[in-house]
Symmetry: C2
Subunit: 271 residues, 2 copies
Amino acid sequence: MSPNSRAAIGVFDSGVGGLTVFKALAERLPHERMVYLGDTARVPYGTKSPEVVTRYSLGCARELLQHELKALVVACNTASALALDALEAQLPVPVVGVIAPGAAAAAAATKSRRVAVIATPATIASGAYQRALHEARADLEVRAKACPLFVPLAEEGWTQGDVPRLVAREYLGQGFVDGADTLVLGCTHYPLLRDIIAEAVGPKVTLVDSAHATAEHVAGLLEKRGLLAPVGNAPERHFLVTDTPARFVEIAGRFLGQPIAGAQQVDLKLA
Amino acid sequence: MSPNSRAAIGVFDSGVGGLTVFKALAERLPHERMVYLGDTARVPYGTKSPEVVTRYSLGCARELLQHELKALVVACNTASALALDALEAQLPVPVVGVIAPGAAAAAAATKSRRVAVIATPATIASGAYQRALHEARADLEVRAKACPLFVPLAEEGWTQGDVPRLVAREYLGQGFVDGADTLVLGCTHYPLLRDIIAEAVGPKVTLVDSAHATAEHVAGLLEKRGLLAPVGNAPERHFLVTDTPARFVEIAGRFLGQPIAGAQQVDLKLA
């Protein structure tokens, strides 16, 4: 396969959360052909082991390679934290994760040099954000916390009201962000809970998510390699899922702000 | 394979929840050899499609058949609701789900003939409890509700305090159980939230879970077929998981009330 400018950008996530990244990519790169794969039959990744997350991520990537790709975006923080090295080693196209762009954005935003990160248990346990933040800026003080209930709350659409407010207070109260002026939303589901999280940490803390920073990074990468789609290229958008499509199609509309025509179920051979 | 009385009882669940059933079986049938499989690499089942839950359930059953089995217990309400027919059709040993025993126990317990059921979205959508309750007793009035956040709350150990109390009130308040005197805990995780659920529905409602009713049913089945293990049979207990064992082993101790020696990771070929 020789990548060319009309090839597609492949994007995968454990389920629907990566659509926040897909949306930012589609806005930043409106002429690109894009294929999204949501591994809805095996969601979530954030409570599973590095070994299993790596196996699933390679399966998703191989499925997406059936389409002609010029780049692969890992739109899942857990997969970016645990499987990026394996994906880079095994794939014939450039691979972009969401952690380095998100960490760079946070390092640029902080004035107090204190940055807080919230993410899934697997992402936090990997230390990937802590490393990426220190690589972006060596003098940062980083505090990190796993917030496992935020994913099911976002998936169930409980993004407003007393329950998510109380959960956010449990996770983020008691001085967790004390002194930090920047909070990284280190899971693609968390932007759906942005209002509740902002309320829990207070107005002095800037929330950073990886979606826009990742889209910027992909745009720069494609431009540098002469792979940007020509203006007027038909920007086809194609959605693949591993479980039956109905629930994904319904939720995708909520994430993208507009309905999608449908999604195709694929069967990943790699368990 | 010809089942004999020294063969094992196989038990599977999407993860750790089925250990509540395993514990009841071990207490009721202390001389039996038992093998438990938790599909921790693909948990949860309760938010997935009938097609995927059936495929995963058949994979679990086939793995357990590698051990010499005399019966298979589907210790997962979602799998019992969606995959029992397929399992019965394809397996060479008797298959027992948790829904019929739980429904029979609830039908026996109610005086008002009004029964409420809470379970995962997949179980409720299947209508399996509604059908089983009406089969157990035709004149019951049944109300059913999906409570998807109870599983992540139980998995995270948030079984006491303000958050689960508020979630329970959201699901079970506003007259959901009004008039019902019996509430079926239609998911093997829910017994961990028993106190909170009891508080939300009030002291007039009897909570029924399937674990003991299922253990009774299995004991009766084995006795009828002359398959009870002889007294003094070494009651080996063996645990299999599809993700790495560490987290399972930790949580299993909490579910069983005593630590387990370990669990073996198996690789299900059927994705």
